[in-house]
């Protein structure tokens, strides 16, 4: 299994020893050695069913497989990189915030409730399952990890949500009232509520 190293806070460095890693298309900034890049399709899993799902949901993270011998550096739009380890659990993530992930991890697309409609990210979210490492992107500055416990549910802005990990129940909160109709809203009409126990990662910038 590869080590995901950070070179500074915005560049991810991965050594390949004949194995492979999947990364967001076009995110390679440099490499040494003998590495090939191949389109790995979308992050919605494999097969025809996934392809159909992809078409239907519009949740499209386009990934490439990097394989061979050498070192590869990845970065995207000067966003900060966050490395998350998965040990058999599931990570729910905004597809466009994925930088790279271990090849063994499974990706799928899951229904995310009405949340997607407001955040413009589509109604579906990408799930990553298995054993391995995921590198996520945070726009506008370093990401923040917020802990959720049964006593303390968490409410976040859908536009700054990056990913969530753990036993979490996600609900969509609307606070639309007559104020919104007359243009007197606080700008926070839609939010995401997490109950249970786990970790939610957010970024300082709103999409």
């Amino acid at each position: 299994m590869q080590a995901f190293r950070l070179n500074g806070s915005r560049i991810l460095e991965i050594d390949l020893h004949g194995d492979a890693v999947r990364a967001a298309t076009g995110a390679m900034i440099a490499y040494t050695g003998d590495v090939t890049f191949r389109n790995a399709g979308m992050g919605g899993g494999g097969g025809l069913r996934a392809a159909l799902k992809q078409k239907a949901t519009g949740e499209s993270v386009s990934l490439m497989t990097c394989s061979g011998q050498g070192t590869v550096w990845f970065a995207k739009d000067a966003m900060e990189v966050l490395v998350v380890e998965l040990a058999g659990d599931t990570l729910k993530v905004e597809s466009e915030q994925i930088l790279a992930l271990s090849d063994k991890l499974k990706t799928d697309v899951a229904f995310a409730g009405l949340r997607g409609a407001s955040s413009g990210q589509g109604l579906f979210t990408t799930t990553v399952t298995g054993f391995g490492t995921v590198a996520l992107l945070s726009a506008g500055g370093p990401p923040i990890a917020l802990e959720v416990s049964p006593q303390y549910p968490l409410v976040v802005d859908p536009d700054s949500f990056i990913a969530s990990q753990g036993q979490l129940h996600q609900t969509f909160v609307t606070e639309v009232s007559w104020r919104n109709l007359i243009g007197e809203s606080s700008g926070e009409a839609f939010s995401l509520r997490f109950d249970g126990s786990g970790v939610v990662y957010i970024q300082p910038e709103e999409r």
Binding site: T25, A30, F37, R38, M64, W73, A75, D77, A78
Partner: protein
């Protein structure tokens, strides 16, 4: 050895004294102390050839020289600044846009890439959108170079050619040759490529600087 001092990721400070002038991009001065004057440099040290190059380049960046006695702070549009020392073992090649300041002791020339690699050099310029000209700094001294999101330095040596995404390439220093390598397959033609079809291949001895983003300045 460099006389530039990094104040933070985006601002550098440099002392100026008679005989140690600093050339900088016009408008990049943030603050200064002491008795320093700034005057425009019309024709760079490249001489007539340089001027022709500049005219053809079309993206030539107007420079100014800081003279006198004092300390000047430079920064530009909130972009990250990387300090690079040139120690005489090889020139620093950098796109004119990215050069924010350098010691006047460094000789700057505009190099037509075509002379470096024939038609391939020209292709490289067209592909990476860098124009066909690049600025080279020779001699001993240091330079401040702009990047989006900061840079990492990757060593290049004989056994270890480095491939770089043209959009993420910032600069290189040393005895390094740059070549464009295209591995365009049928997948790219049908829009199923990996997005990494065109790369710059660097060989030789030196260092290449790569930024954390695929955005040009």
């Amino acid at each position: 050895m460099g006389i530039f001092e990094q104040v933070n990721g985006k601002v550098v400070a440099v002392p100026v004294s008679p005989g140690r002038e600093i050339l900088a991009r016009r408008g990049a001065m943030l603050a200064y102390t002491g008795n320093v004057t700034f005057s425009p440099v019309h024709m760079g040290p490249g001489g007539a050839g340089g001027m022709v190059g500049r005219m053809l380049q079309g993206e030539q960046v107007a420079m100014m020289v800081a003279q006198g006695q004092g300390t000047v702070h430079y920064g530009y549009r909130g972009l990250y600044i990387t300090l690079i020392d040139v120690d005489g073992s090889g020139p620093l090649s950098v796109e004119a846009d990215r050069l924010v300041a350098h010691e006047a002791a460094l000789q700057s020339t505009v190099v037509f890439l075509g002379s470096q690699g024939g038609i391939r050099g020209a292709v490289r310029g067209a592909v990476s959108g860098q124009g066909l000209f690049t600025t080279q700094l020779h001699g001993h001294g240091s330079a401040a170079v702009l990047s989006h999101g900061g840079t990492i330095a990757i060593p290049v040596n004989g056994m270890r050619p480095v491939a770089v995404d043209p959009q993420a390439y910032v600069a290189h220093v040393g005895q390094v040759t740059v070549d464009v390598s295209a591995s365009v397959g049928w997948r790219d033609a049908v829009g199923r490529g990996s997005g990494e079809a065109i790369q710059l291949k660097l060989t030789g001895n030196g260092t290449v600087y790569v930024q954390a983003s695929e955005q040009k300045l």
